[in-house]
């Protein structure tokens, strides 16, 4: 099953897990699977009208899915999906 990597700031909404396996054939299915397993994540990943938030990017392996086929991008069992939010710390 494809693996979704959860970044530290969002792990608290995903049962504190660093990665979640989901059964999915596309990026959209994978993210849907993730938020149905962890409903609290939905608000952090999507706006109220269902769009991915502007400070969250989704990568399939090392490619930004915005430059692939977005939600329709197909994923294989061996793929790594990463959620990459902006972080700001530095002091």
């Amino acid at each position: 099953m494809p693996k979704i990597h959860i970044p530290t700031p969002l792990r608290q909404y995903a049962g504190k897990q660093p990665a979640v396996d989901v059964k999915a054939g596309t990026i959209g299915e994978a993210l849907n699977g993730l938020v149905s397993q962890h409903p609290e994540l939905r608000r952090h990943l999507y706006t109220e009208d269902g769009k991915l938030r502007a400070f969250v990017n989704v990568y399939l392996n090392d490619e930004d899915v915005r430059y692939l086929q977005k939600d329709a991008t197909t994923v294989a069992d061996s793929d790594n999906i990463s959620i990459v939010p902006s972080i700001a710390g530095g002091r």
């Binding site: 970044p7 530290t8 700031p9 608290q12 909404y13 609290e40 608000r43 952090h44 938030r53 502007a54 400070f55 990017n57 990568y59 090392d62 490619e63 930004d64 430059y67 990463s82 990459v84 939010p85 902006s86 972080i87 700001a88 710390g89 530095g90 002091r91």
Partner: protein, 390 residues
């Protein structure tokens, strides 16, 4: 890439003392005399003299960068010392700029330092950036990061970016002519409340060391024009797994600031929601509050008050006032542990999370809930000075 300042005759040679100092650079072909003179002519501006700024400026100073600008308005406090290695215990209470200048000058007396004791804003950013070739972003908040990025795009100067959260870091080089900018990656900053606040966040002390040294490396490569800079690549650093991953970044043609039809054409001051000094956001209005002195008096007189601590278990271990621990995130599913007929006082570290808890409980039908104003920090300040603060 933005033009690096043309070499002026007065910096176009090295003294014998400088040659000795930089000999390990001079004997390697990738730097050599030519590279060392480029370093000497370079003017690098570092935003923030904290966790990232410490290793970054220490290494740039040692390497022979000629002019370092630093923007900071903070003073050193005890909680900085776990990671901000440019400052020492004796510096607590001093301006960070003064403390940093002393250390940097001690390492390299040939260094010229320009101190900007101010908060970077839309008013001053372009003017401050003007005299520098490269900007290194070592700030700790989203508004300043967007400001730095936009000012870099507008002035055509590369933005050597690094940021950290707990044990994860990100690094890249943004806003070069050919490469993407920060807004290509993240068009807008997150709205308040959707990212953990700074005080809830925490950071592994060595992490800014790792990331700041990567920023220093990239800065030096840009000056030398050698190697493959992190342009169009986002480096993800996981210190816990000690894994470095790399993601591809593309210049977004629809980018609001560096795209073909930019909508951001001047600098924006986003509202601060995660205190620049690492404070939490202000408490929401309209939440019923109780002061620490009142709580103490009422507990001492034996009143039936239920103290609810909504912090995390690891915070409870640092200090507590014997409250019943239910972390804010677990409150919805553990609300049955609470008796709505009793009077409840909720507290956290500073009062922000417990205000959310109070709002939640009131919506859930609890009538007698109060927020402890100022949280356990206020308790430590005003009721029990022996209690540790964090």
């Amino acid at each position: 890439m933005a033009a690096i300042t043309e070499l002026k005759p007065e910096v176009a040679n090295l003294s014998n003392d400088e040659i000795l100092r930089y000999s390990r650079h001079l004997i390697m072909p990738e730097v050599g005399m030519e590279g060392q003179i480029k370093l000497k002519a370079a003017k690098v501006l570092c935003i923030g003299a904290g966790g990232l700024g410490s290793p970054l400026t220490l290494y740039l100073a040692a390497a022979g960068v000629g002019t370092l600008g630093m923007v900071d308005f903070d003073v050193v406090d005890y909680t900085n010392l776990q990671r901000q290695i440019i400052h020492s215990t004796a510096d607590v209470g001093r301006k960070k700029l003064d403390s940093a200048e002393e250390k940097l000058k001690a390492i390299n007396p040939f260094l010229a330092i320009r101190k900007f004791e101010t908060r970077l804003s839309s008013e001053n950013a372009l003017e401050i950036f003007e005299d520098f070739d490269i900007i290194a972003d070592g700030t700790d908040n989203f508004p300043t990061r967007y400001l730095v990025n936009d000012a870099c795009v507008l002035t055509g100067k590369p933005n050597v970016y690094g940021s950290i959260f707990r044990f994860e870091g990100q690094a890249s080089v943004f806003a070069t002519e050919e490469g993407p900018c920060y807004r290509c990656l993240y068009p807008e900053p997150p709205p308040p409340g959707l990212v953990p606040s700074c005080a809830e966040g925490g950071v592994l002390g060595i992490l800014p060391g790792l990331v700041g040294v990567i920023q220093a490396t990239e800065t030096i490569k840009l000056i030398l024009r050698s190697g493959d800079p992190l342009i169009g690549r986002l480096l993800l650093i996981d210190a816990l797994g000690m894994k470095f991953r790399e993601l591809k970044l593309r210049k977004n043609p629809d980018c609001p600031v560096c795209g073909k039809h930019p909508t951001v054409t001047e600098l924006i001051d986003y509202n601060e929601f995660c205190g620049i000094r690492g404070e939490e956001a202000p408490v929401e209005a309209g939440v019923p509050e109780i002061q620490v002195e009142d709580l103490k008096r009422r507990l001492d007189s034996g009143e039936d008050l239920f103290v609810l601590d909504v912090r995390e278990p690891h915070e409870y271990q640092i200090c507590n006032i014997n409250g019943h621990l239910i972390p804010l995130g677990e409150l919805p599913k553990r609300v049955h542990e609470l008796d709505s007929s009793r009077e409840i006082v909720a507290h956290c570290r500073s009062g922000v999370r417990s205000a959310k808890a109070v709002n939640f409980l009131r919506q859930a039908g609890f009538k007698k809930v109060h927020n402890l104003a100022g949280g356990i920090l206020a308790w430590a300040d005003r009721v029990d000075p022996s209690m540790p603060k964090y």
